[in-house]
Symmetry: D2
């Protein structure tokens, strides 16, 4: 079986990471790669690392839609709806790596993105596609909202704790640090090398657009509304996110017991690795992979649980997870094309 | 006036930063630089950046004590007491950049460092030398415990908030990130370039030895015992610390009001800069300097205050502050030798 | 078919990169991984990136030899001969990533490494295994000297020019820059993060041990003795080598003609990519891969050819090439297990 | 004495480094800072590292000219002539950090920059201001062409060798590596963090505009036309240049003798440090300073001299040298304001 896949926005960072991974996917055939900025050029001209490997000419988005059965889109928010609708009409699968199909509540989308849903039914037919939490709901869907990078690291980091009511839902503070690819390929002063090398700073403090998505997932796990403090920081590395998450324990549990809850929750999940007690999740161990490493720590003195979650923002945080989702909707083993071993350095 | 100063442990990172700063200090004369590992060699052989500028031969610690009026010591914990006692006996000033004279309560020292105080009276004659908080107590003292890097960033970050009872003292969570020089010049796997480049991870989660020092300061400000959660991370940059500090507001205040409290508290402090509202403290702005930049953020949704504090771990976090302290005890203008402008890149 | 492979020195950087690549090799089975320093521990304890993927316990070298049909060794020089002899005696394949089987002339080995060959016949039965130059000689061999990282980048960079007598063999100057993994996993002051971050310097100027290996290859291509000036530099990146090579043109050729010579020479070589005229080889395009990118430049004013060659020092410069060699001696398609697409960032 | 100084282009990297250094210059008063892009804003808004230290409002270039006695200009080529003429007319000093007053031969300017000189006499009244070579000519001049960063590192690196006819002037090959600030503050894909971090590549191979400037200096020293091969590379660090320079020895000299020539040539030069034999120039030792470190190496096997020269591209390669030049023309001690000790990390 070979699935014809296409990418809209293939020259963005998430897009080209999709290209890289899909080239190694045994059941996918890259039928078309789209780019508004570079249409008509071979993608290997934009990314010379692809020279001799994949030199397809970048096409229009329309061609991507036409030639593909599964379409990945990596677009600024507000642009995905029309493509999703078109796919839905043709029975094609649309996996959106942008924000347009992540939020269940239109008011959240309005509040944080300033836009409305043109077609509410379309959104209701979509699924928020975090496989470890919503695997069953993903199956059979045609429109998938692929989770954001921060929300993925946080949702996976807190799922066992909230599911098992270990922490107070009012106490959650999330301090995240993201590599610079998270800011995209577009130029900006903050991502100019001399500005972000040997630098470190938070940004969009307590006002990052991933906040409602994080809260949507945590609330759904907890079964009650969860509001969090979320502060992202720009980290001078290319790839990777580390989220350090703090929550007040509301049960008398030991670290061993918390660890047991996490390991049993994720016992069957290939892509979530719970570090042994004493270890600390490090983004270096998950780069170029679809893994999420989670380490657990207990501050005995304040009875706070500290969860550290590390992913590759472009892997499990974007392209890797999108392929995992494709595998689910296409009925393939979930790890197909995602088994490359993360490099040690 | 020229003060004869000496450094014990001059080839460690804090020690050699002291050398660099003292060479530019108009009232200090570097009388002796000591090193156990490199005794007998010129310091410029260990640090070629000093070639042609300062080529003094490294001596024994005893010689440093003998030749100097003010002695800076940068030693592993447990080694400073005898030098301090010797200085005290001779009426010399001893500024300890290590941990031995920072903790008021011997039980804290026992618990976190595993050692006892040999001479309690000596410790009682010492001062915890964070100038912005304890300026008056520092004057006239002979033994100074120079604060740790993390505690400096945190004490300065929280001082106005706690002094003015803006936040709940039980709610404080501190997520700190330090450049690699914080781990010292000694070799280790975690500071081996390929291990820490393109990496990020916490370490000593909720068990770092700076915790009791942080709590001592915060408790003293608050006038009640403060217990915090403190998680340090290793940041792939040479210098700098950013502490992101979270606390629950216990008053109905606006961000403007909090900002006004901070700016008025630090109005006369040259070395603490409160960022304008909307700005974020960034370690790039304080590198190679004695500044502490503090930015203020309010999470309206959870009513948490977020304070971001940035220092150079080797400047305000070690050598710069030590010189500031020397200036205080020697009756010099506090900024003498500390006015170099931080580089923009 | 499944080949039982083993690695001696599996926790060194080249060794663990072999592990990573061999785990993705469809015809290899990792039968044993050896380590003197960590024997008895799971390799995933040394490299947590392997957790959940490969947790084999590290064994003695003897066990590696016993359990494997193909043995890779990554050892300090002087230690490989006995293992090679043992393999030869048992008809096993021994691929040495160290220096012991690279030099044809024992006097070179004596001069540069200070050691003699114990068993000259053994060395004579070995092959210097740079596939693009010596593919036919590699086939059927049991002892392979896997080329050094610098010599690989340089041999591939100059092969077409020397083969076609484009440049004066007395004029060759090679300025190479290597990422820090090239210095290995062992700790040293020069690879301590604060010492090599934001730093750049040459080392072993005109006296690096790869010099005789480089000259052996270039002399063999040219059919006459070639002596070069070779200066390596330490580059603050994890992986990758760029060699900038200068040679005086001895023919009236245009850049187009030189380019045509290179593209035709390498027309059938998957792993050597000649950049289009105007492009420049960049290590970022070959990281994590077995590619060697070569760009060509002509200084019209001085009539010098400038060849820039980029490889991943741990890929084509070590582990990748070793697997390419295994594929050759085992009769597999040469690119088996080596088709992962280099990441774009 | 206090000299009123002004900066045209103060928000570029060279401009703001001038600001930083001039703020520490005891005889300079920063009278005006100009910026086309940020006119009307305080400079500390563009560079928050200056907050509380220097918050002057950026003005028009005209105001800078009006208010200052010494004007530094850091502008794209082709824009300096009119300002220089205006200064000359008013007897003010004009120090140009751009390329417009560096080349003696108008045909070089035409060929490499595509422009003509509007006022040849103006150019003839200017001086190429590399102090160690042209100190006497600089004195009394009003228009100074401050050397480029690469040419500074190379001119100082080769001066003793060429002056003493140690090397063949036809044999010179220069392989330079520059930190990213060399590309300026303007945004570009190549200086986007994820593009240049963990990357290394040459650029403008054998066609960089500094080539004629390099050759002008070398020819002048040698007393005969010198043509060189010059290849710059982009180095993933913020600051610093290392030039590795190759030349064929034309005399029977030993390394000791070459070293003696260099040390005696530079015996009275504070800002050029000749490394001891066995040492290697490293940009980490000269960052944030006006030093040029030079190390000497001899390839006995090929009889080539290898000179490695390291400067801070923004210090000795731009702003530091400009201030050194100001000191010369203003009759101040040459090192005034330039004595800060380079940091060890």
């Amino acid at each position: 079986m070979s699935i014809k896949v296409g990418i809209i926005g293939a020259t963005g960072y998430a897009g080209v990471e999709l290209v890289r991974l899909l080239l190694g996917h045994p059941q996918a055939e890259l039928a078309a790669v789209g780019s508004v900025s570079f249409e008509g050029k071979p993608i290997s001209e934009v990314y010379p690392s692809l020279a001799g490997i994949f030199e397809a000419v970048l096409t229009s988005d329309e061609q991507v839609l036409e030639k593909s059965e599964v379409i990945f889109a990596s677009l600024p928010h507000g642009l995905s709806e029309k493509y999703a609708a078109s796919c839905a009409a043709q029975g094609k699968v649309f996996i959106d790596l942008g924000a347009d199909f992540r939020l269940w509540a239109e008011e959240d989308y309005k509040q944080w993105y300033g836009l409305e849903y043109d077609d509410l039914a379309l959104h209701q037919s979509a699924v928020y596609a975090l496989p470890e939490l919503y695997r069953e709901q993903i199956k059979g869907k045609k429109i998938l909202g692929n989770p954001g990078c921060y929300p993925t690291s946080i949702g996976l980091g807190l799922y066992p704790a909230l599911k098992n009511e270990l922490i107070d839902t009012n106490s959650i503070i999330i301090d995240s640090k993201s590599g610079v690819t998270g800011a995209g390929r577009g130029l900006s002063q903050t991502t100019h090398y001399p500005d972000c090398n040997e630098a470190f700073s938070p940004y969009k403090v307590a006002e990052h657009r991933h906040t409602p998505e994080i809260e949507q997932t945590l609330s759904d796990i907890a079964g009650e509304p969860v509001t969090v403090t979320f502060v992202p920081h720009l980290l001078p590395v290319n790839r990777g996110i580390v989220s350090t998450i703090y929550g007040a324990l509301k049960k008398e549990v030991t670290l061993d017991e918390v660890h047991a809850v996490y390991t049993s929750t994720y016992a069957k999940e290939q892509f979530v690795r719970v570090c042994p007690i004493g270890g600390a999740a490090n983004l270096k161990n998950v780069r170029m992979s679809n893994y999420c490493d989670v380490s657990l720590h207990l501050d005995e003195r304040t009875r706070r649980l500290i969860v550290v979650s590390a992913i590759d923002n472009m892997g499990k945080g974007a392209a890797g997870q999108a392929i995992q989702n494709m595998n689910i909707v296409c009925g393939l083993p979930e790890n197909t094309g995602l088994n490359s071993v993360p490099p040690c350095f």
